[in-house]
Amino acid sequence: MRRDSASALRAAKAAPRRWSAATIALHWLSAALILGLIGLGWFMVHGDIDAATKFDLYQLHKSLGFLGLALLLLRLGARLVQASPPAPPAMPPWEHRLAGLAHAGFYGLLLAASLTGWLLVSAAVIAIPTRFFDLFVIPNLLPSLTRADASLSAAMAFWHYVIARLILGLLVLHVAAALKHHFVDRNDVLTRMLPWPTRLRAAPSNRREDRLERNKVGPPSY
C-alpha cells in the first residue's frame, strides 16, 4: 500500500494531471458522434420517413460511422504514445481494474461496431456505394469475400444492433462512474476531462480513512 502510494506520487510528477487538449477534444467529439450515431441508427431504421430521406440518413450514418472509426484509431494511437494522468491515489485497485476494463471495453465495442457496420454494407445484396460525405467512395471490406452475401449481411446487422446496445449500457456505467468520482469520491477524474478550464482539486480524496492514510505516509505539513 505504501509503495503503491509512493509510485502514484512519482507518476503524478511525471505525468500531467490533466488530459491534453487534443485528447479532451477527441473525447467529447467522440461522445457526441457515438450518441448521434446510435440515435440516427435507431431513427433511420424505425422512423416513419419516406424513401429518399431514409436513403440520405443511411448515407449520413455510414459517413459518420467512418468518421467515428477514424477518431477511434486516432484515440487508440494517442492512448499508446501519450502518458495518461494518474488515477487518484485513493482509488482502490478493484476500481482501477474496472475502469481499465470499461475503457478497453469501449475501444473494443466501438471497433466492433465499425467493423460489423462496414461488413454489413460490404456484403449487402443491395450494393450501395459508401460515399464518405460525398467526397470519395470507401471500398468494401474484403471485396472478394463479401460480395452480396445476404446471410453474412444479416448476421452483421444483428451484431451491429447488439453492439450498439452494449455501448449504450457501458455509457451508462461510464457516466455513473464519472459522477461517482466527482460527487462521492470528490476527486478530479471528471474535471480533468471537462472541455472548459477548471481548477483541479488539490486533495485526491476527503474520506476519513484516506485522510488518516495521508497523515501516516505523507510528508510533514509544516
Binding site: 420517413i49 424513401a51 431514409k54 436513403f55 460515399r131
Partner: protein, 201 residues
C-alpha cells in the same frame, strides 16, 4: 298528279347530288372535321412518375424530369392513332441527390450508356368513350420489349386551345430489361404513371 311529280323529279335529284358533294367536301376539308391531328405534350403539365416496392423499405417514388412526347390522333379511327415518348434517363429524380445518382448508376438505369428510354406505340384500341389501350415497344437499357398501357383520356372544354388530358398507367417488369439489381428484395414490378396534357399543333 303523276305528270306534275315526274316533271319535278330531275330538278330535285340535281339538288340532292349537289348537297352530297358539299358534304363530302366539308368532310375532307382541313380543320375540325380532319380525321388526323398532331399533338405535343406540354412538359409543364406532364409528370412521368414511377414507384417501386422493396422489402423493409418505404415505397420509392420518383419522376423523370426531361422528356418529349408526341401524339397523332385519329378520332374517327382510333386504331390509326400513334403515340411516342422519349425520356432522358439522366433526369431521374427521387427527391434525394445521392439516391438519384445511385439510380443513374449501372446498377439500375445505367444512364451514361443508355441516355434514353423510348416508347412508341404499335397499336391503339378504343375501349370506351374515355379509355383506350395502347400497345407499344419500350426500349430501356438497350432492350426492347412490348408494353401495354391503359390510358384514360379527357377533353376539357372551355379552353382557348384544343387540349387533351390523359393519364396512362403501366406495369414494367424490370427483369425483362436486364435490370435485376436488388431482386427480390427490391420488387421486379415498377408502376408507371404518366399524367399529361397535350396541345394540338
Amino acid at each position: 298528279m303523276l305528270s306534275s311529280s315526274s316533271s319535278l323529279a330531275p330538278k330535285f335529284r340535281r339538288r340532292a347530288s349537289a348537297l352530297a358533294l358539299l358534304m363530302a367536301v366539308a368532310a375532307l376539308a382541313p380543320g375540325h372535321a380532319s380525321p388526323r391531328s398532331n399533338w405535343a405534350i406540354d412538359p409543364s403539365r406532364t409528370h412521368i412518375s414511377f414507384s417501386i416496392d422493396a422489402i423493409g423499405y418505404p415505397r420509392t417514388q420518383g419522376e423523370f424530369r426531361r422528356f418529349d412526347g408526341r401524339l397523332s390522333v385519329d378520332f374517327d379511327h382510333p386504331a390509326q392513332s400513334r403515340v411516342s415518348f422519349r425520356v432522358q434517363s439522366q433526369s431521374v429524380d427521387v427527391g434525394s441527390a445521392s439516391f438519384s445518382d445511385y439510380l443513374r448508376s449501372d446498377a439500375f438505369l445505367n444512364a451514361s450508356h443508355f441516355s434514353e428510354i423510348v416508347f412508341s406505340s404499335t397499336a391503339v384500341e378504343k375501349i370506351d368513350e374515355n379509355d383506350i389501350r395502347v400497345t407499344g415497344d419500350l426500349t430501356m437499357l438497350g432492350v426492347t420489349r412490348p408494353l401495354t398501357v391503359d390510358v384514360e383520356v379527357r377533353r376539357p372544354d372551355a379552353r382557348s386551345r384544343a387540349r387533351l388530358e390523359f393519364t396512362a398507367r403501366a406495369k414494367i417488369d424490370r427483369l425483362e430489361f436486364g435490370m435485376n439489381s436488388g431482386f427480390p428484395v427490391i420488387s421486379k414490378d415498377v408502376d408507371l404513371v404518366v399524367a399529361s396534357e397535350a396541345e394540338e399543333q
